[in-house]
């Protein structure tokens, strides 16, 4: 049992810290959820990529550093501690990329990944539909075989980043006659500016167009943009979803940095005792999440695969993130209500956490049934 990092890993950390200190914008970029902010964040991704820091755990030939899980976690700690901007490429980097590494072809990887790492192509996730959120098996949008590819039709909803993104990845029904609804889905990549695509930005709670509805009308997708075999989309998506909920979506670095900032805010406000326990819980929670993640990483590095345990973290970090931001807003009082502070923006972002990536109710079912072995209940 050991928490010390090797001298080589610490040297990597120091290198990341030095680069970030020299490059992180002195002033926060405008909100990622605005056109202006999106462009600024895209430029930041390009700068990260030029330094070789945009996807550190990827193989070098795709624009990464091939540095492994440990260094990815260390990089993330340094990244968030440095106050660096939110990652506009997150959906692609943390969801599509792992899918391509596991299920894509070499041609797909070499075509898709380098521009993703450079921020030249920003990806949106197109999974949910108006009648299908956490119950992805009930998806209706369809893919029909065409010459040399497929034609996609239907509606996708709540596609994060889609208001400004370039391309999207998602599930479409390839075989309406399949013997079970979760079979007969295909996993496709498509262009958001292709003929037949209509993007309607949707304001989230604070009005910013953080996501969009997509309407597809016979959108052509060539065969080379199908990931895996048609009909296997569900299985492929589920392996990505475990990654999303598990290690890669929210690194502990983000929460360690947020907890430290909350503690600083509390001190700046004179350390009011009525908030002391909640500030302490934020510090304790960030440490717990960090150590939980190091334990999970140790298991992965020892050759294990994460399974339903990733539902534990999904619930933990999403609830944690809200509690932390609520505490900050309480400390800020009226200043928190003004809505144009990073804390208010973070609060609105955090509110979505228990909903996306599989609603927390579904995660609790998974914990109860698959980790505690409780009987399956009827969900309908």
């Amino acid at each position: 049992m050991d928490l010390a990092h090797s001298p080589a890993d610490e040297a990597f950390r120091a290198e990341a810290r030095a680069w970030l200190r020299a490059h992180v914008p002195a002033r926060p970029l405008p909100s990622l959820e605005t056109a202006e902010g999106f462009a600024a964040h895209r430029a930041w991704e390009a700068e990260l990529a030029a330094g070789g820091w945009s996807a550190v755990n990827w193989p070098e030939r795709y624009g990464g550093r091939d540095c492994g899980l440990t260094r990815w976690l260390l990089f993330e700690e340094e990244y968030w501690a440095a106050g660096a901007p939110g990652r506009v490429g997150q959906n692609g980097v943390s969801l599509l990329a792992p899918t391509l590494f596991e299920h894509g072809t070499e041609e797909q990887r070499s075509r898709v990944l380098p521009p993703m790492a450079a921020g030249e192509v920003v990806w949106a996730q197109a999974w949910s539909e108006p009648e299908a959120g956490s119950d992805l098996a009930s998806l209706r949008a369809r893919a029909v075989r065409a010459d040399g590819g497929w034609r996609l039709s239907g509606q996708k909803a709540w596609s994060s980043r889609a208001a400004f993104a370039d391309r999207a990845f998602g599930l479409f029904r390839t075989d309406p006659g399949a013997d079970a609804p979760h079979r007969g889905l295909g996993y496709f990549m498509f262009d958001l500016r292709a003929p037949g695509v209509t993007v309607r930005p949707v304001g989230r709670l604070d009005g910013k167009p953080a996501f969009a509805e997509l309407f597809l009308d016979g959108v052509f997708v060539p065969d080379e943009d199908v990931i895996g075999r048609p009909g296997e989309g569900w299985r492929i998506a589920m392996s990505t979803a475990a990654d999303e909920r598990g290690l890669t979506l929210r690194s502990p670095g983000r929460f360690l940095a947020s907890a430290a900032r909350l503690h600083a805010l509390w001190q700046d406000r004179g350390g009011p005792p009525e908030a002391a326990d909640r500030v302490a819980d934020a510090l304790i929670g960030a440490r717990a999440y960090q150590l939980f993640t190091w334990a999970a990483a140790s298991r992965v590095l020892a050759g294990e695969r994460l399974g339903p345990e990733s539902s534990l973290n999904k619930v933990f970090w999403s609830e944690y993130d809200i509690a932390l931001h609520e505490t900050a807003l309480d400390l800020l009082g009226e200043d928190g209500e003004t809505g144009d502070t990073p804390w208010a923006e973070g609060y609105v972002f955090a509110l979505a956490g228990p909903i996306y990536a599989g609603a927390n109710e579904i995660q609790r079912d998974i914990v109860a049934e698959r980790l505690l072995g409780l009987p399956k209940g009827r969900r309908t």
């Binding site: 049992m1 050991d2 928490l3 010390a4 990092h5 090797s6 890993d9 440990t70 430290a260 503690h263 600083a264 001190q267 002391a276 326990d277 500030v279 302490a280 819980d281 510090l283 304790i284 929670g285 440490r287 717990a288 999440y289 150590l291 939980f292 190091w294 334990a295 990483a297 140790s298 298991r299 590095l301 020892a302 345990e309 534990l312 619930v315 933990f316 109710e361 995660q363 609790r364 079912d365 914990v367 109860a368 049934e369 980790l371 505690l372 072995g373 409780l374 009987p375 399956k376 209940g377």
Partner: protein
């Protein structure tokens, strides 16, 4: 970095689990609560033979330690089996007595299980002060060997008996390592609480499988499942804090572990009581042995509030 128990540590946990499971521990707890300690001390000897107390005692005093990670592994098992007695206090005593001085004479006895100790800070109760041979009082002028004890008071946990230590006695150390002893006691208590919480969850999961209402096992109801899922999440995030604190032994990490494990165990107890219904609300049913301990351990060696304050204090010093 390899934040995983090794094969030897996992085997140590399994062997303690098997030994305690076969040792009639619940009967020993009930005897202990009545002041009949024969079975409890027999259990104590077996725990010592397994090397548990030696983990807190340095090698030069016939111990195996100090090895806080292994000690945590052991204390989780002691908690899971509701073992009674001044367990964390004996660990704290070993930490206090590990420096040079006349106190050295006690350590071999603690490591081997021939003696058990209790420790009380000034103004606080000592656990099982009426049962042990070695009563250590942390007073304004140092560490004293208390000559006796006052009246015994009940605890929320019938298996914990609380008493004040008598003043005076031999001065063992004018400058004892109070902070170190507190960290060890807190760490051991946190691990014990984690074990108590795990046992409560395990027993409750078994119960909700068996208990049928409205024609279905209550464990198939989503309200029940989600409550237990939340308990599982709380315990699984307390566990790395406890192990991480054993690795670093910093005051903040130990306090975070104690607050987190104490609260998680308490949440487990609340869920266990609720989901066992009236059956759980009886002293006759064995669940009570863990329910009451979860409540008592929550405050022992640092309430959640004291531990949170420690975290804030330490964080303020770092930044």
């Amino acid at each position: 970095m390899r934040f995983l128990l090794d094969a030897e540590q996992r085997a140590f946990a399994r062997s303690l689990d098997a030994m305690l499971g076969a040792a009639g521990t619940t009967a020993a707890v009930r005897d202990w609560s009545r002041g009949d300690r024969a079975r409890g001390w027999a259990l104590w000897s077996r725990i010592a033979e397994a090397g548990v107390f030696a983990l807190a005692v340095p090698e030069k005093y016939e111990g195996l330690g100090p090895r806080p990670v292994d000690l945590v592994v052991a204390f989780v098992e002691l908690g899971r089996h509701a073992v009674p007695g001044p367990l964390a206090e004996t660990v704290a005593a070993a930490a206090l007595l590990s420096g040079p001085g006349p106190a050295e004479r006690f350590l071999a006895g603690l490591a081997s299980g021939r003696s058990a100790a209790t420790v009380a800070r000034e103004g606080r109760y000592a656990l099982d002060g009426d049962a042990v041979t070695l009563r250590l009082a942390l007073t304004a002028d140092g560490l004293r060997l208390a000559p006796g004890h006052g009246p015994v008071r009940p605890s929320l946990d019938p298996a914990r008996r609380l008493t004040r230590l008598s003043p005076g006695g031999e001065l063992l150390d004018a400058a004892p390592a109070v902070d170190r002893a507190l960290r060890w006691a807190r760490l051991a208590t946190a691990a014990q609480a984690l074990g108590v919480g795990l046992a409560l969850l395990e027993r409750t999961v078994a119960h909700v499988h068996r208990r049928v209402q409205f024609g279905a096992p209550i464990g198939s109801f989503q309200a029940v499942k989600h409550r237990l899922a939340d308990v599982k999440i709380a315990l699984e995030f307390a566990r790395p804090l406890v192990l991480g604190a054993a690795v670093t032994m910093t005051a903040a990490d130990v306090a975070a572990a104690k607050a987190s494990a104490g609260e998680a165990a308490y949440a487990s107890a609340r869920a266990a009581l609720q989901l066992h219904g009236a059956l759980g609300y009886t002293a006759e049913y064995d669940l009570s042995l863990w329910l009451t301990k979860a409540a008592a351990l929550r405050t022992a060696w640092g309430t959640p509030g004291e531990c949170r304050a420690e975290v804030l204090r330490a964080h303020g010093q770092v930044h």
